[in-house]
Protein backbone atom coordinates (compact mmCIF):
# COMPACT_ATOMS: atom_id res chain seq x y z
CA UNK A 1 0.00 0.00 0.00
CA UNK A 2 1.06 3.56 -0.66
CA UNK A 3 0.08 6.44 1.62
CA UNK A 4 0.70 9.32 -0.74
CA UNK A 5 0.18 7.87 -4.20
CA UNK A 6 0.88 11.18 -5.92
CA UNK A 7 4.27 11.95 -4.45
CA UNK A 8 5.56 8.42 -3.96
CA UNK A 9 5.05 7.38 -7.59
CA UNK A 10 6.08 10.52 -9.48
CA UNK A 11 7.85 10.03 -12.79
CA UNK A 12 11.56 10.79 -12.33
CA UNK A 13 11.43 13.96 -14.38
CA UNK A 14 8.54 15.45 -12.43
CA UNK A 15 10.19 14.46 -9.15
CA UNK A 16 13.43 16.14 -10.13
CA UNK A 17 11.61 19.29 -11.16
CA UNK A 18 10.02 19.45 -7.71
CA UNK A 19 13.37 18.74 -6.07
CA UNK A 20 15.09 21.55 -7.96
CA UNK A 21 12.38 24.06 -7.17
CA UNK A 22 12.42 23.16 -3.47
CA UNK A 23 16.21 23.08 -3.35
CA UNK A 24 16.50 26.56 -4.82
CA UNK A 25 13.97 27.91 -2.33
CA UNK A 26 15.82 26.25 0.57
CA UNK A 27 19.20 27.60 -0.54
CA UNK A 28 17.86 31.13 -0.89
CA UNK A 29 16.34 30.88 2.56
CA UNK A 30 19.40 29.51 4.39
CA UNK A 31 21.64 32.06 2.66
CA UNK A 32 19.38 34.77 4.00
CA UNK A 33 18.63 33.38 7.45
CA UNK A 34 21.67 31.38 8.61
CA UNK A 35 24.99 33.24 8.89
CA UNK A 36 26.90 29.94 8.81
CA UNK A 37 25.61 29.06 5.34
CA UNK A 38 26.04 32.57 4.00
CA UNK A 39 29.70 32.52 5.09
CA UNK A 40 30.28 29.03 3.72
CA UNK A 41 28.69 29.77 0.36
CA UNK A 42 30.60 33.05 0.07
CA UNK A 43 33.88 31.28 0.86
CA UNK A 44 33.15 28.78 -1.89
CA UNK A 45 32.11 31.54 -4.24
CA UNK A 46 28.73 30.03 -5.03
CA UNK A 47 25.51 31.97 -4.68
CA UNK A 48 22.13 30.23 -4.31
CA UNK A 49 21.09 31.58 -7.72
CA UNK A 50 24.09 29.80 -9.32
CA UNK A 51 22.40 26.48 -8.64
CA UNK A 52 20.45 25.90 -11.85
CA UNK A 53 20.30 22.12 -11.83
CA UNK A 54 20.42 19.26 -9.36
CA UNK A 55 23.94 18.48 -10.56
CA UNK A 56 25.02 21.95 -9.40
CA UNK A 57 24.36 20.86 -5.83
CA UNK A 58 27.80 19.24 -5.87
CA UNK A 59 29.34 22.74 -6.08
CA UNK A 60 28.17 23.52 -2.55
CA UNK A 61 30.24 22.69 0.54
CA UNK A 62 29.33 19.86 2.90
CA UNK A 63 27.91 20.32 6.36
CA UNK A 64 29.32 18.01 9.03
CA UNK A 65 28.57 16.93 12.56
CA UNK A 66 31.41 19.22 13.69
CA UNK A 67 29.58 22.21 12.15
CA UNK A 68 26.51 21.26 14.18
CA UNK A 69 28.58 21.12 17.32
CA UNK A 70 30.27 24.45 16.57
CA UNK A 71 26.87 26.09 16.24
CA UNK A 72 25.42 24.54 19.39
CA UNK A 73 22.65 24.90 20.31
CA UNK A 74 20.61 27.08 17.92
CA UNK A 75 23.16 28.52 15.49
CA UNK A 76 21.88 26.62 12.45
CA UNK A 77 18.19 27.27 13.02
CA UNK A 78 16.67 29.11 10.04
CA UNK A 79 13.63 30.48 11.86
CA UNK A 80 13.24 32.50 15.07
CA UNK A 81 12.64 30.34 18.15
CA UNK A 82 9.10 31.81 18.26
CA UNK A 83 8.31 29.59 15.30
CA UNK A 84 9.92 26.47 16.71
CA UNK A 85 7.40 24.12 18.28
CA UNK A 86 9.62 21.15 19.04
CA UNK A 87 13.24 20.55 19.99
CA UNK A 88 14.98 17.19 19.91
CA UNK A 89 18.58 16.28 20.62
CA UNK A 90 20.71 13.31 19.80
CA UNK A 91 22.94 11.89 22.45
CA UNK A 92 26.42 13.23 22.13
CA UNK A 93 28.76 10.29 22.54
CA UNK A 94 31.61 12.74 22.29
CA UNK A 95 30.95 16.14 23.80
CA UNK A 96 27.86 18.19 23.09
CA UNK A 97 24.61 16.71 21.83
CA UNK A 98 23.21 17.72 18.45
CA UNK A 99 20.18 19.96 18.84
CA UNK A 100 17.49 20.08 16.16
CA UNK A 101 14.28 22.12 15.88
CA UNK A 102 10.95 21.77 14.11
CA UNK A 103 8.28 24.25 13.14
CA UNK A 104 4.65 23.17 13.35
CA UNK A 105 4.82 22.43 9.62
CA UNK A 106 8.02 20.40 10.05
CA UNK A 107 6.26 18.26 12.65
CA UNK A 108 3.41 17.73 10.17
CA UNK A 109 5.80 16.82 7.38
CA UNK A 110 7.53 14.34 9.64
CA UNK A 111 4.18 12.81 10.64
CA UNK A 112 3.30 12.44 6.95
CA UNK A 113 6.60 10.70 6.17
CA UNK A 114 6.20 8.37 9.13
CA UNK A 115 2.62 7.64 8.04
CA UNK A 116 4.06 6.78 4.60
CA UNK A 117 6.64 4.55 6.30
CA UNK A 118 4.08 2.67 8.38
CA UNK A 119 1.94 2.21 5.27
CA UNK A 120 4.94 0.86 3.37
CA UNK A 121 5.30 -1.70 6.16
CA UNK A 122 1.71 -2.79 5.61
CA UNK A 123 0.04 -0.77 8.36
CA UNK A 124 -3.30 1.00 8.02
CA UNK A 125 -5.73 2.88 10.25
CA UNK A 126 -7.08 -0.41 11.56
CA UNK A 127 -3.72 -1.38 13.05
CA UNK A 128 -2.49 -1.08 16.63
CA UNK A 129 1.09 0.13 16.84
CA UNK A 130 3.20 -0.98 19.80
CA UNK A 131 5.78 1.79 19.82
CA UNK A 132 8.75 0.70 21.92
CA UNK A 133 11.11 3.38 20.66
CA UNK A 134 12.17 5.63 23.49
CA UNK A 135 10.08 8.78 23.96
CA UNK A 136 11.95 11.91 24.83
CA UNK A 137 14.80 13.82 23.26
CA UNK A 138 15.46 10.84 20.99
CA UNK A 139 13.41 11.21 17.80
CA UNK A 140 12.35 7.56 17.58
CA UNK A 141 9.42 7.54 20.00
CA UNK A 142 7.64 10.73 19.05
CA UNK A 143 8.47 10.32 15.36
CA UNK A 144 6.64 7.00 15.11
CA UNK A 145 3.91 8.25 17.43
CA UNK A 146 2.89 11.21 15.28
CA UNK A 147 3.07 9.12 12.13
CA UNK A 148 0.84 6.43 13.58
CA UNK A 149 -1.69 9.03 14.68
CA UNK A 150 -1.60 10.71 11.28
CA UNK A 151 -2.28 7.35 9.69
CA UNK A 152 -5.23 6.93 12.02
CA UNK A 153 -3.84 3.80 13.64
CA UNK A 154 -4.08 3.24 17.39
CA UNK A 155 -0.74 3.85 19.00
CA UNK A 156 0.42 2.38 22.30
CA UNK A 157 3.11 4.82 23.51
CA UNK A 158 4.88 2.19 25.57
CA UNK A 159 8.38 3.66 25.01
CA UNK A 160 11.49 1.68 25.96
CA UNK A 161 12.10 -0.30 29.11
CA UNK A 162 10.07 -2.38 31.56
CA UNK A 163 10.20 -5.28 29.16
CA UNK A 164 8.08 -7.70 31.13
CA UNK A 165 5.23 -5.23 31.25
CA UNK A 166 5.62 -4.73 27.50
CA UNK A 167 5.07 -8.45 26.96
CA UNK A 168 1.86 -8.35 29.01
CA UNK A 169 0.65 -5.36 27.00
CA UNK A 170 1.42 -7.21 23.78
CA UNK A 171 -0.51 -10.21 24.98
CA UNK A 172 -3.51 -8.27 26.30
CA UNK A 173 -3.81 -5.27 23.93
CA UNK A 174 -3.22 -7.21 20.71
CA UNK A 175 -0.91 -4.81 18.84
CA UNK A 176 -0.34 -5.67 15.17
CA UNK A 177 2.68 -3.50 14.36
CA UNK A 178 5.90 -3.34 16.38
CA UNK A 179 8.35 -0.43 16.24
CA UNK A 180 11.68 -0.51 18.09
CA UNK A 181 15.38 -1.07 17.53
CA UNK A 182 16.24 -4.50 16.08
CA UNK A 183 18.27 -5.42 19.15
CA UNK A 184 15.35 -4.60 21.42
CA UNK A 185 13.05 -6.71 19.23
CA UNK A 186 15.22 -9.73 19.98
CA UNK A 187 15.31 -8.86 23.64
CA UNK A 188 11.51 -8.78 23.64
CA UNK A 189 11.51 -12.26 22.08
CA UNK A 190 13.83 -13.53 24.76
CA UNK A 191 11.85 -12.11 27.66
CA UNK A 192 8.56 -13.35 26.17
CA UNK A 193 10.06 -16.81 26.03
CA UNK A 194 11.10 -16.61 29.68
CA UNK A 195 7.57 -15.59 30.58
CA UNK A 196 6.07 -18.43 28.60
CA UNK A 197 4.44 -16.07 26.06
CA UNK A 198 4.75 -17.15 22.44
CA UNK A 199 4.85 -14.56 19.66
CA UNK A 200 2.99 -17.15 17.62
CA UNK A 201 -0.07 -16.37 19.76
CA UNK A 202 0.32 -12.59 19.43
CA UNK A 203 -1.26 -10.56 16.64
CA UNK A 204 1.81 -8.90 15.14
CA UNK A 205 1.89 -8.70 11.35
CA UNK A 206 4.84 -6.44 10.73
CA UNK A 207 7.45 -4.29 12.36
CA UNK A 208 9.62 -1.30 11.57
CA UNK A 209 13.09 -1.58 13.00
CA UNK A 210 15.84 0.99 12.84
CA UNK A 211 18.09 3.47 14.64
CA UNK A 212 21.02 1.06 14.51
CA UNK A 213 22.68 -0.92 11.72
CA UNK A 214 21.49 -4.50 11.35
CA UNK A 215 21.95 -7.34 8.90
CA UNK A 216 19.84 -9.58 6.66
CA UNK A 217 20.61 -12.47 9.01
CA UNK A 218 19.26 -10.41 11.88
CA UNK A 219 16.08 -9.85 9.86
CA UNK A 220 15.68 -13.61 9.37
CA UNK A 221 16.14 -14.11 13.09
CA UNK A 222 13.60 -11.42 14.04
CA UNK A 223 11.03 -12.69 11.52
CA UNK A 224 11.39 -16.26 12.76
CA UNK A 225 11.25 -15.46 16.44
CA UNK A 226 8.65 -12.71 16.45
CA UNK A 227 6.43 -14.12 13.69
CA UNK A 228 6.15 -10.88 11.75
CA UNK A 229 7.52 -9.20 8.63
CA UNK A 230 10.47 -7.01 9.56
CA UNK A 231 11.16 -3.81 7.63
CA UNK A 232 14.17 -1.55 7.92
CA UNK A 233 13.52 2.13 8.58
CA UNK A 234 16.14 4.84 8.32
CA UNK A 235 16.44 8.29 9.71
CA UNK A 236 18.66 10.52 11.74
CA UNK A 237 17.66 13.37 13.97
CA UNK A 238 19.77 15.89 12.05
CA UNK A 239 17.76 15.25 8.88
CA UNK A 240 14.42 14.71 10.62
CA UNK A 241 14.26 11.48 12.61
CA UNK A 242 12.82 8.12 11.55
CA UNK A 243 11.02 8.21 8.21
CA UNK A 244 13.72 9.53 5.90
CA UNK A 245 13.65 6.19 4.09
CA UNK A 246 11.84 2.91 4.55
CA UNK A 247 11.61 -0.56 3.09
CA UNK A 248 8.39 -1.71 1.49
CA UNK A 249 6.61 -4.90 2.46
CA UNK A 250 6.44 -5.95 -1.20
CA UNK A 251 10.19 -6.08 -1.86
CA UNK A 252 11.99 -5.83 1.51
CA UNK A 253 14.97 -4.89 -0.55
CA UNK A 254 16.42 -1.46 0.02
CA UNK A 255 14.83 1.59 1.60
CA UNK A 256 12.83 4.10 -0.46
CA UNK A 257 14.06 7.60 0.24
CA UNK A 258 11.31 10.22 0.37
CA UNK A 259 12.94 12.27 -2.32
CA UNK A 260 10.26 14.91 -2.48
CA UNK A 261 11.66 16.05 0.90
CA UNK A 262 15.32 15.01 0.79
CA UNK A 263 17.96 14.88 -1.91
CA UNK A 264 20.34 11.98 -1.41
CA UNK A 265 23.86 11.75 -2.77
CA UNK A 266 26.60 9.19 -2.37
CA UNK A 267 30.14 10.48 -2.04
CA UNK A 268 33.58 8.98 -1.62
CA UNK A 269 34.11 9.02 2.17
CA UNK A 270 37.69 10.26 1.83
CA UNK A 271 37.78 12.51 -1.24
CA UNK A 272 34.19 13.78 -1.00
CA UNK A 273 33.71 13.25 -4.73
CA UNK A 274 30.16 12.40 -5.81
CA UNK A 275 29.82 8.75 -6.82
CA UNK A 276 27.42 7.35 -9.42
CA UNK A 277 24.30 5.49 -8.34
CA UNK A 278 24.96 1.89 -7.45
CA UNK A 279 28.42 2.60 -6.02
CA UNK A 280 28.84 2.22 -2.27
CA UNK A 281 29.95 5.30 -0.36
CA UNK A 282 28.86 7.80 2.26
CA UNK A 283 25.27 9.05 2.25
CA UNK A 284 24.79 12.79 2.04
CA UNK A 285 21.40 14.45 2.50
CA UNK A 286 20.02 17.87 1.69
CA UNK A 287 16.66 18.71 3.19
CA UNK A 288 14.41 20.60 0.78
CA UNK A 289 11.24 21.24 2.77
CA UNK A 290 12.40 21.67 6.34
CA UNK A 291 11.82 25.10 7.84
CA UNK A 292 13.44 25.20 11.28
CA UNK A 293 16.55 23.15 10.68
CA UNK A 294 17.44 22.81 7.02
CA UNK A 295 20.69 21.04 6.24
CA UNK A 296 22.69 21.38 3.06
CA UNK A 297 24.77 18.41 1.94
CA UNK A 298 24.94 16.89 5.39
CA UNK A 299 27.47 14.09 5.69
CA UNK A 300 25.76 11.27 7.57
CA UNK A 301 28.85 9.02 7.95
CA UNK A 302 26.46 6.20 7.00
CA UNK A 303 27.68 3.91 4.25
CA UNK A 304 25.18 2.79 1.66
CA UNK A 305 24.49 2.86 -2.08
CA UNK A 306 21.60 4.23 -4.15
CA UNK A 307 19.53 2.15 -6.56
CA UNK A 308 17.06 3.75 -8.98
CA UNK A 309 15.66 0.50 -10.46
CA UNK A 310 11.85 0.33 -10.40
CA UNK A 311 10.38 -1.45 -7.40
CA UNK A 312 7.53 -3.92 -7.46
CA UNK A 313 5.65 -1.83 -4.88
CA UNK A 314 5.15 0.88 -7.48
CA UNK A 315 7.15 3.60 -5.75
CA UNK A 316 9.49 5.49 -8.07
CA UNK A 317 11.62 6.71 -5.17
CA UNK A 318 15.26 5.71 -5.22
CA UNK A 319 16.24 2.95 -2.82
CA UNK A 320 19.22 3.05 -0.51
CA UNK A 321 20.82 -0.22 0.45
CA UNK A 322 20.71 -1.28 4.08
CA UNK A 323 23.26 0.84 5.94
CA UNK A 324 26.39 -1.22 6.46
CA UNK A 325 27.55 0.90 9.32
CA UNK A 326 28.71 4.37 10.12
CA UNK A 327 32.12 5.21 8.84
CA UNK A 328 32.80 6.11 12.50
CA UNK A 329 31.93 2.54 13.52
CA UNK A 330 34.31 1.00 11.06
CA UNK A 331 37.02 -0.90 12.85
CA UNK A 332 40.46 -1.05 11.40
CA UNK A 333 42.03 -4.23 12.70
CA UNK A 334 45.62 -4.57 11.62
CA UNK A 335 44.86 -2.68 8.47
CA UNK A 336 41.68 -4.54 7.57
CA UNK A 337 38.43 -2.57 7.54
CA UNK A 338 35.58 -4.32 9.29
CA UNK A 339 32.07 -3.25 10.20
CA UNK A 340 30.37 -4.73 13.25
CA UNK A 341 27.43 -5.63 11.00
CA UNK A 342 29.69 -7.82 8.86
CA UNK A 343 30.77 -9.76 11.92
CA UNK A 344 27.15 -10.03 12.96
CA UNK A 345 26.37 -11.61 9.58
CA UNK A 346 29.02 -14.26 10.03
CA UNK A 347 27.92 -15.02 13.59
CA UNK A 348 24.31 -15.51 12.54
CA UNK A 349 25.17 -17.43 9.38
CA UNK A 350 26.77 -20.17 11.46
CA UNK A 351 23.29 -20.68 12.96
CA UNK A 352 24.90 -21.75 16.21
CA UNK A 353 24.88 -18.56 18.22
CA UNK A 354 22.32 -16.17 19.62
CA UNK A 355 22.20 -12.72 18.00
CA UNK A 356 23.70 -11.18 21.11
CA UNK A 357 27.34 -10.37 20.67
CA UNK A 358 29.86 -7.77 21.60
CA UNK A 359 33.11 -6.71 20.02
CA UNK A 360 36.00 -5.63 22.19
CA UNK A 361 38.90 -3.86 20.56
CA UNK A 362 42.16 -3.60 22.43
CA UNK A 363 45.70 -2.75 21.62
CA UNK A 364 47.95 -5.55 22.76
CA UNK A 365 51.65 -4.94 22.28
CA UNK A 366 50.90 -2.27 19.70
CA UNK A 367 48.68 -4.58 17.69
CA UNK A 368 44.93 -4.20 17.39
CA UNK A 369 43.15 -7.17 18.77
CA UNK A 370 39.48 -7.81 18.23
CA UNK A 371 37.67 -10.13 20.60
CA UNK A 372 34.20 -11.32 19.71
CA UNK A 373 32.07 -12.24 22.70
CA UNK A 374 29.24 -14.66 21.98
CA UNK A 375 26.91 -16.27 24.44
CA UNK A 376 26.88 -19.88 25.46
CA UNK A 377 23.46 -21.48 25.24
CA UNK A 378 22.19 -24.94 26.13
CA UNK A 379 22.42 -26.38 22.60
CA UNK A 380 26.05 -25.36 22.32
CA UNK A 381 27.07 -26.59 25.72
CA UNK A 382 29.31 -29.56 26.12
CA UNK A 383 30.94 -30.71 29.28
CA UNK A 384 34.25 -31.18 27.50
CA UNK A 385 36.59 -28.20 27.25
CA UNK A 386 37.91 -29.30 23.88
CA UNK A 387 34.44 -29.17 22.35
CA UNK A 388 33.86 -25.66 23.61
CA UNK A 389 37.22 -24.54 22.34
CA UNK A 390 36.34 -26.09 18.99
CA UNK A 391 33.19 -23.96 18.93
CA UNK A 392 35.33 -20.87 19.45
CA UNK A 393 37.86 -21.89 16.80
CA UNK A 394 35.10 -22.59 14.32
CA UNK A 395 33.75 -19.05 14.52
CA UNK A 396 37.25 -17.58 14.43
CA UNK A 397 37.87 -19.51 11.22
CA UNK A 398 34.57 -18.44 9.68
CA UNK A 399 35.30 -14.77 10.42
CA UNK A 400 38.82 -15.03 9.06
CA UNK A 401 37.67 -16.75 5.89
CA UNK A 402 34.83 -14.32 5.25
CA UNK A 403 36.31 -11.01 6.31
CA UNK A 404 40.04 -11.62 6.21
CA UNK A 405 40.54 -10.49 9.75
CA UNK A 406 41.89 -12.52 12.63
CA UNK A 407 39.82 -12.31 15.77
CA UNK A 408 39.60 -14.08 19.08
CA UNK A 409 36.25 -15.62 19.95
CA UNK A 410 35.23 -15.98 23.57
CA UNK A 411 32.21 -17.78 24.88
CA UNK A 412 30.51 -15.97 27.74
CA UNK A 413 27.70 -17.04 30.03
CA UNK A 414 24.13 -17.14 28.73
CA UNK A 415 22.37 -13.78 28.76
CA UNK A 416 25.40 -12.09 30.24
CA UNK A 417 25.84 -9.56 27.44
CA UNK A 418 23.94 -6.39 28.09
CA UNK A 419 20.46 -6.24 26.56
CA UNK A 420 19.73 -2.79 25.33
CA UNK A 421 16.39 -1.07 25.40
CA UNK A 422 17.49 1.39 22.78
CA UNK A 423 20.55 1.19 20.63
CA UNK A 424 22.75 -1.79 21.43
CA UNK A 425 26.34 -1.13 22.46
CA UNK A 426 28.03 -3.59 20.15
CA UNK A 427 31.55 -2.26 20.23
CA UNK A 428 33.77 -1.53 23.18
CA UNK A 429 36.90 0.16 21.94
CA UNK A 430 39.48 0.20 24.68
CA UNK A 431 42.07 1.79 22.40
CA UNK A 432 40.62 5.27 22.81
CA UNK A 433 41.46 5.54 26.48
Amino acid sequence: MIYNEEFETLPREALEAIQLRRLQATLARVYRAVPFYRRRFDETGVKPEDIGSLADLARLPFTTKADLRDNYPYGLFAVPLDNVTRIHASSGTTGKPTVVGYTARDVQTWAELMARSLTAAGASKSDIVHNAYGYGLFTGGLGVHYGAEKLGASVIPVSGGNTRRQILIMRDFGPTVLTCTPSYALHLAEVAEEMGVSFRDLKFQSGLFGAEPWSEQMRAEIEARLHLKAMDIYGLSEIMGPGVAVECLEAQNGLHIFEDHFIAEIIHPETGDPLPWGTPGELVFTTITKEAFPLIRYRTRDLSSLHPEPCRCGRTLVRMSRVQGRSDDMLIIRGVNVFPSQIESVILETRRFTPHYQLVVERVENLDQLTVLVEMHPELFSDAIKNLQAVERELEDAIRETLGVTVRVRLVEPKSLQRSEGKAARVIDKRRR
Binding site: P378, F381, A384, L388, E413, P414
Partner: protein, 143 residues
Protein backbone atom coordinates in the same frame (compact mmCIF):
# COMPACT_ATOMS: atom_id res chain seq x y z
CA UNK B 1 21.65 -47.08 36.58
CA UNK B 2 24.80 -45.09 36.04
CA UNK B 3 25.52 -41.82 37.70
CA UNK B 4 24.25 -38.53 36.31
CA UNK B 5 26.56 -35.61 36.51
CA UNK B 6 25.47 -32.06 35.82
CA UNK B 7 27.86 -29.57 34.33
CA UNK B 8 27.69 -25.81 34.08
CA UNK B 9 29.40 -23.26 31.89
CA UNK B 10 31.06 -20.55 33.95
CA UNK B 11 33.12 -17.56 33.01
CA UNK B 12 36.45 -17.44 34.73
CA UNK B 13 35.64 -14.47 36.96
CA UNK B 14 35.58 -13.78 40.67
CA UNK B 15 32.29 -14.66 42.31
CA UNK B 16 30.95 -16.98 39.63
CA UNK B 17 31.41 -20.15 41.68
CA UNK B 18 30.04 -18.50 44.80
CA UNK B 19 26.91 -17.64 42.83
CA UNK B 20 26.38 -21.34 42.10
CA UNK B 21 26.96 -22.41 45.69
CA UNK B 22 24.55 -19.70 46.87
CA UNK B 23 21.84 -21.05 44.57
CA UNK B 24 22.44 -24.55 45.96
CA UNK B 25 22.37 -23.36 49.53
CA UNK B 26 19.07 -21.60 49.03
CA UNK B 27 17.64 -24.62 47.24
CA UNK B 28 18.84 -27.09 49.84
CA UNK B 29 21.04 -28.93 47.36
CA UNK B 30 23.95 -30.89 48.78
CA UNK B 31 27.05 -31.28 46.64
CA UNK B 32 28.41 -34.85 46.65
CA UNK B 33 31.39 -34.35 44.38
CA UNK B 34 32.68 -31.66 42.11
CA UNK B 35 35.47 -30.86 39.77
CA UNK B 36 36.31 -27.71 37.90
CA UNK B 37 37.93 -27.84 34.50
CA UNK B 38 39.15 -24.48 33.39
CA UNK B 39 40.86 -22.50 30.70
CA UNK B 40 41.99 -18.92 31.23
CA UNK B 41 38.60 -17.65 30.13
CA UNK B 42 35.95 -20.14 31.03
CA UNK B 43 35.43 -23.19 33.13
CA UNK B 44 33.17 -26.18 33.28
CA UNK B 45 31.94 -27.05 36.72
CA UNK B 46 31.04 -30.74 37.01
CA UNK B 47 28.89 -31.76 39.91
CA UNK B 48 27.19 -34.67 41.49
CA UNK B 49 24.46 -33.58 43.87
CA UNK B 50 21.80 -35.24 45.99
CA UNK B 51 18.96 -34.05 43.75
CA UNK B 52 19.90 -33.69 40.10
CA UNK B 53 16.46 -32.77 38.85
CA UNK B 54 16.03 -29.93 41.30
CA UNK B 55 19.57 -28.66 40.89
CA UNK B 56 19.13 -28.55 37.13
CA UNK B 57 15.87 -26.64 37.37
CA UNK B 58 17.37 -24.12 39.79
CA UNK B 59 20.37 -23.52 37.57
CA UNK B 60 18.28 -23.19 34.44
CA UNK B 61 16.01 -20.70 36.19
CA UNK B 62 19.08 -18.66 36.97
CA UNK B 63 20.06 -18.67 33.31
CA UNK B 64 22.94 -21.14 33.36
CA UNK B 65 23.76 -23.43 30.45
CA UNK B 66 23.47 -26.84 32.09
CA UNK B 67 24.41 -30.20 30.64
CA UNK B 68 23.89 -33.72 31.86
CA UNK B 69 26.53 -36.38 31.38
CA UNK B 70 26.56 -40.03 32.26
CA UNK B 71 29.55 -40.92 34.40
CA UNK B 72 30.58 -44.05 36.30
CA UNK B 73 31.29 -44.20 40.05
CA UNK B 74 33.91 -46.80 40.84
CA UNK B 75 34.98 -48.12 44.23
CA UNK B 76 38.73 -47.81 44.65
CA UNK B 77 40.64 -49.64 47.31
CA UNK B 78 42.12 -47.12 49.72
CA UNK B 79 45.71 -48.35 49.58
CA UNK B 80 48.78 -47.79 47.38
CA UNK B 81 48.11 -49.21 43.93
CA UNK B 82 44.32 -49.13 44.33
CA UNK B 83 43.72 -46.65 41.52
CA UNK B 84 46.54 -48.05 39.46
CA UNK B 85 44.85 -51.45 39.34
CA UNK B 86 41.66 -49.94 37.91
CA UNK B 87 43.46 -47.83 35.34
CA UNK B 88 45.46 -50.84 34.21
CA UNK B 89 42.28 -52.83 33.64
CA UNK B 90 40.91 -50.01 31.55
CA UNK B 91 44.12 -49.42 29.63
CA UNK B 92 44.32 -53.08 28.64
CA UNK B 93 40.88 -52.80 27.07
CA UNK B 94 41.88 -49.60 25.28
CA UNK B 95 39.32 -47.50 27.14
CA UNK B 96 40.04 -43.82 27.35
CA UNK B 97 39.37 -41.85 30.53
CA UNK B 98 38.26 -38.38 29.52
CA UNK B 99 38.43 -37.13 33.07
CA UNK B 100 38.06 -38.33 36.64
CA UNK B 101 37.71 -36.89 40.11
CA UNK B 102 37.23 -38.07 43.66
CA UNK B 103 33.97 -38.44 45.52
CA UNK B 104 33.73 -36.72 48.89
CA UNK B 105 32.50 -39.70 50.94
CA UNK B 106 33.92 -43.17 51.24
CA UNK B 107 32.09 -46.38 50.50
CA UNK B 108 32.81 -48.39 53.60
CA UNK B 109 36.62 -48.49 53.69
CA UNK B 110 36.99 -47.76 50.01
CA UNK B 111 37.32 -44.49 48.16
CA UNK B 112 35.00 -43.58 45.30
CA UNK B 113 36.22 -42.14 41.98
CA UNK B 114 34.01 -40.62 39.32
CA UNK B 115 35.04 -41.52 35.76
CA UNK B 116 33.98 -40.17 32.42
CA UNK B 117 34.73 -42.82 29.75
CA UNK B 118 34.51 -42.50 26.01
CA UNK B 119 32.96 -45.98 25.88
CA UNK B 120 30.84 -46.67 28.94
CA UNK B 121 29.45 -50.17 28.07
CA UNK B 122 32.91 -51.46 27.36
CA UNK B 123 34.30 -49.92 30.53
CA UNK B 124 31.54 -51.46 32.66
CA UNK B 125 32.27 -54.83 31.16
CA UNK B 126 35.98 -54.54 31.84
CA UNK B 127 35.42 -53.43 35.45
CA UNK B 128 32.92 -56.21 36.10
CA UNK B 129 35.29 -58.79 34.64
CA UNK B 130 38.03 -57.62 37.01
CA UNK B 131 35.68 -57.76 39.99
CA UNK B 132 35.72 -54.01 40.55
CA UNK B 133 32.57 -52.61 42.09
CA UNK B 134 30.61 -49.91 40.35
CA UNK B 135 28.24 -47.86 42.49
CA UNK B 136 24.81 -47.11 41.09
CA UNK B 137 23.31 -43.65 40.93
CA UNK B 138 20.63 -44.05 43.59
CA UNK B 139 23.13 -45.43 46.08
CA UNK B 140 25.66 -42.73 45.35
CA UNK B 141 23.30 -39.74 45.66
CA UNK B 142 22.24 -41.01 49.10
CA UNK B 143 25.77 -41.59 50.39
Amino acid sequence: MNVEQISIFLENQPGRLAEVTRIFEEGGINIRALALADTSEFGILRLIVNDNEKARELLKDHGYAVGVTEVVAVEVEDRPGGLHRILTVLARRGINVEYMYAFVRQSGRNAVMIFRFDDIPNALQALAAAGIRVIEGAELYAM
